[in-house]
Symmetry: D2
Subunit: 344 residues, 4 copies
């Protein structure tokens, strides 16, 4: 490992700390690594050390490079300056990607509290979007954001079809940043069928960071399960980016969207009800539908094929076809055909 | 352990299976036990065995009695018949509480899918409410409920101030019961400041029950962390009911409400902003406020006392006063005084 | 689930409690189940309830049938009566195997303290050996055994090549049954290359059972990791018996012996050094050796092929040949040939 | 965090990498930190990167400073050169302890394979002994040690009363360093009543390091529980060194010895049988014994007091007296008196 601290702005005291791991040699099959960009909290007044290094270490152990962004705070925090700092950091990482052996399409942001606001902004409004966002007891609602800074935008209202998958966690009893900040974000991500994972623990204080006693008072009431977000989010990143295989990362098991219903054109990854409700799509698929009718046994004798399609309507068509044994070539062909039909 | 199967309705094939553990003797200090009432799913068409015994065993290991309710399904499932079955089961448990050594105020319902709908109804509309509800990939929204039965009510709209704490889990990619069922419930519980815990795993099928391969195909894509809901919900129940101590259960760490802002009268467990915003309460507390002004150092020199109260507004007044060392007698006195002021 | 209590001896108060789970129906692909036979401790003076049901529930959740043996204690405990009780229990299970859907070749014993002594005796001296033994803070050394009963045999000295794989756990500070009981057993199992797993926690009392507060005082100093033996032993049983697959159990990943060096005839599962040290085996394998010489690159240029064989001497020959891509037919042929050579 | 690489010998390419964390400021109550000294394996031929940084990160997340020792290998590895390198590293840490804020009495060594040999040597033969040793699939037996270097000493035969507590882990099927290396060490530590913890997983390869796929092929058969050694050993270190409290570390729950029976003078922390078997001690304790006779109820009516003392013989006298409510002043007095009696 080697560490570099890069000053992004001397005036505003903005720095990017890079903690770069080795590749090759005994790290067989690793020629580049995915990365996390840690964004500590502190109410846009300071950058918390407790939400910086300890978090980075956990992801470094899992094989990731770690970066820590100390962004503009206090008098310099006027929006969108912090977001500009983020963009500058991503640009810097991108510039050095070859030297540092970073997979630039596999960078996750991890933000806490106000840092969760900035990470959320990166995920929804950034020019260079991260590939995943881990948001800890984040400030997201405009109402809460305005309490920590003038003109701070709300995040849920900026969720769009390009928003990356999010992992959200916090406690129900957080009396600094209400848990409703998380729930509103789930609603927003739901509207765009964006992939997410969410762990809300029943109680615990704001700002628990890793939950270790080295960063949080041992006298605080905090459920032991509350510290599981780290292992869980690492496991989630493996699902999304791929785990380590013999030659780099393996094929991910998670797609960025649950289905493609929010995209502009149809695909096999749209839900059955979406496709089936589109006359042009039904026409395109007419022969496939005919074949499926032969293969599909309704749940009950009274059910018609159309009933079945409705019952399974939330499944993606791809999942159904794979399950029924339609072969891959045919799938590609169908997908291509659907891709020419507007999703309206 | 001994098992009894009690027929609640022969015609409708409704049964209550009681799995009763020993007390006393080597189970030192245990003279009665809390219980879980397991309500399996099955779309109100059948009661799934995979969501019955295996779930009961997990909670029995943790020291709970377990009951399994097989309720009216198919032609007999017309609402509110299933809820009536639940009421009958609770009555039966209540009648036998002494014989079976059940703590009747510590009964949690655990429902899955359609059983989660019934458990949710018990928690929001039941005459005999459970003390906690664990809801797995539950049907809750009216829209989803109507897909599995005519006249099935939506649950979130029935959440009230007497709704018990809820533990909710499911997967983001559930294509049978959309995860939005859970998110809507979080919104509803939030409105009444009800305690909850929530774990939404990024992917996995509907109906995964315990997540063990004995109940779920080993070929299913399912994150290992998805099976943690059992340990997590047991740990949550310990927080809510108390863990086993030397003489029965210890003092719980979790209260049923995050704060009392949804109740009819004020109390120390209302949020500071709620109390501070009530002129009568401010008058009642005038002397306490005067004392607190001496003890509280604002975060920054510019802050006034009122600024501080606003910054801490989401905390309960009790938490603040305890932290600042106000003694217990004084707290009781204040609580009594606040209890005479309508929460408007 | 249904429960039967079978009296094996009225006089000696010996019973077998059978807790039998369902098969078929929704338990797709399960037509029979493996089982655990729980043998509680109690110094051969009584049978502890705390080491009975709670343990059974954990394994039942994992899909196993559970049996609990309450054996001869007190005045009736004269050796070998308890072992005879075990034999009778196994016979009973065997007789009812079809009715109860038990896989009789997949029965694990789980014994605690004195029950660990009995389970250990079953594993080493039983006529009907279990397929696996889980031994919790067990009495195993003759020295310790004599403290709880006259003529009680030591277990390590009876380990033989038919002893089943063992999972051992206990605490370093056990002041009732010293941890050396476990260590002596590891030594004995080592001599026969028997598969084992072992978890010795740094501290904790004797008799902690599941480690839950429902069976162990919450005031006892006990490391949280001490309760992991249950999940770990279930996971170990899955490795040894196979996990649940789509049609019964999958292929196990664990063999009963690390290698076959303790058996009477050679096989591919003997260690390389064992085979290579046998002139007849070297002759039999001469052609294979010639081929391997072509395929094996020594670690350093100076190494000869013989050096390599010595360096890899603790590996089984099968593992080496599989790694080097020798095909399966050839492996079977070699194994057959080696099986005719006495292991001397 | 900042990192320094200190060259201990340019000729032999020996380095100490120091990864130093911050203290004070937001790390409230932390003015110094305990540390781990990581000693990678590599058969004394090289120092494995896979057993260096990833291990350090795990302990850094837990609040420890981490050091990595790259010691003399290959032609320079002639014993005792590696042990001298260790001594030099400890001296260097000691010299810089103030600058780096290291608690020099709370340094644990963590060694793997050949590095486990060196860590074991440090724990048994070092002039500056570590306070704890974590030994992963270590080379310990002289027989195994001689395979990786001439004159390499065996470790178990050097265990003495000053050997620090050990945490040992490895796999049963390790075909490079047989698990018997661990078992022999347990026997040796047992003889001196030294505290230990031990996890032997049923299967898995040599050299699995953290068990993460970033350091170990995803195709390797390895039980998921095998990666738990890290969390378990961190938890064990907290038990031994104290966890983080509000002002530095809390009081440890683990003592370095199970009892003081191996020390030169008696104490209350000797076992009851040891003390009770010493005539002079019995005389010294005569009055206490008289009082205890009044307070102790034998397990059965037939038992005499002497029977009871024998039955409880493996307990420390302190534990018995505390349990029976003898007060602290009296305990101190008794301990002082016993401390004047040779333990023979």
């Amino acid at each position: 490992m080697h560490q570099e601290i890069i000053t992004l702005s001397e005036e505003r005291n903005v720095t990017l700390t890079a903690m770069i791991q080795g590749v090759g040699g005994e790290f067989r099959g690793i020629s580049a690594r995915p990365a996390v960009l840690v964004i500590p909290g502190g109410g846009y007044q300071f950058c918390s050390d407790r939400e910086a290094d300890p978090v980075a270490f956990a992801f470094m152990k899992a094989g990731y490079h770690a970066f820590i962004l100390r962004y503009s705070v206090g008098e310099y925090s006027k929006w969108p300056q912090p977001l500009k700092d983020y963009e500058q950091a991503m640009e810097c990482i991108s510039d050095k990607a070859e030297e540092w052996h970073v997979m630039t399409d596999k960078i996750a942001v991890i933000g806490f509290s106000a840092g969760g606001h900035l990470a959320g902004a990166a995920a929804t409004m950034g020019r260079r979007r991260p590939a995943a966002a881990i948001l800890g007891y984040p400030v997201l609602r405009r109402e809460t954001a305005l309490e920590i800074g003038q003109n701070m935008p709300g995040i849920p209202e900026h969720v769009d079809e390009n928003t990356c998958p999010c992992f959200l966690f916090g406690t129900r009893t957080d009396s600094v940043v209400p848990v409703q900040n998380i729930v509103d974000m789930l609603n927003a991500l739901g509207r765009f069928h964006t992939t997410y994972e969410c762990h809300i623990y029943a109680y615990g204080p704001h700002g628990f960071a890793t939950g270790d006693h080295s960063v949080q008072s041992c006298e605080t009431l905090f459920p032991e399960r509350g510290a599981r977000w780290i292992d869980d989010s690492i496991s989630w990143l493996h699902d999304l980016f791929g785990d380590w295989g013999n030659e780099g990362l393996t094929r991910p098991v998670l797609r960025p969207h649950v289905n493609d219903d929010a995209l502009a054109w149809l695909s096999l990854d749209c839900s059955i009800s979406r496709i089936y409700g589109n006359p042009k799509a039904r026409e395109t698929l007419s022969e496939t539908i005919r074949k499926m009718k032969e293969r599909i046994t309704p749940f009950t004798p009274e059910m018609t094929f159309d009933d079945m399609m409705q019952a399974l309507g939330k499944m993606t068509l791809r999942d159904l076809l794979v399950e029924r044994g339609i072969d891959t070539d045919k799938l590609d062909e169908l997908n291509e055909a659907l891709g020419k039909i507007p999703n309206i």
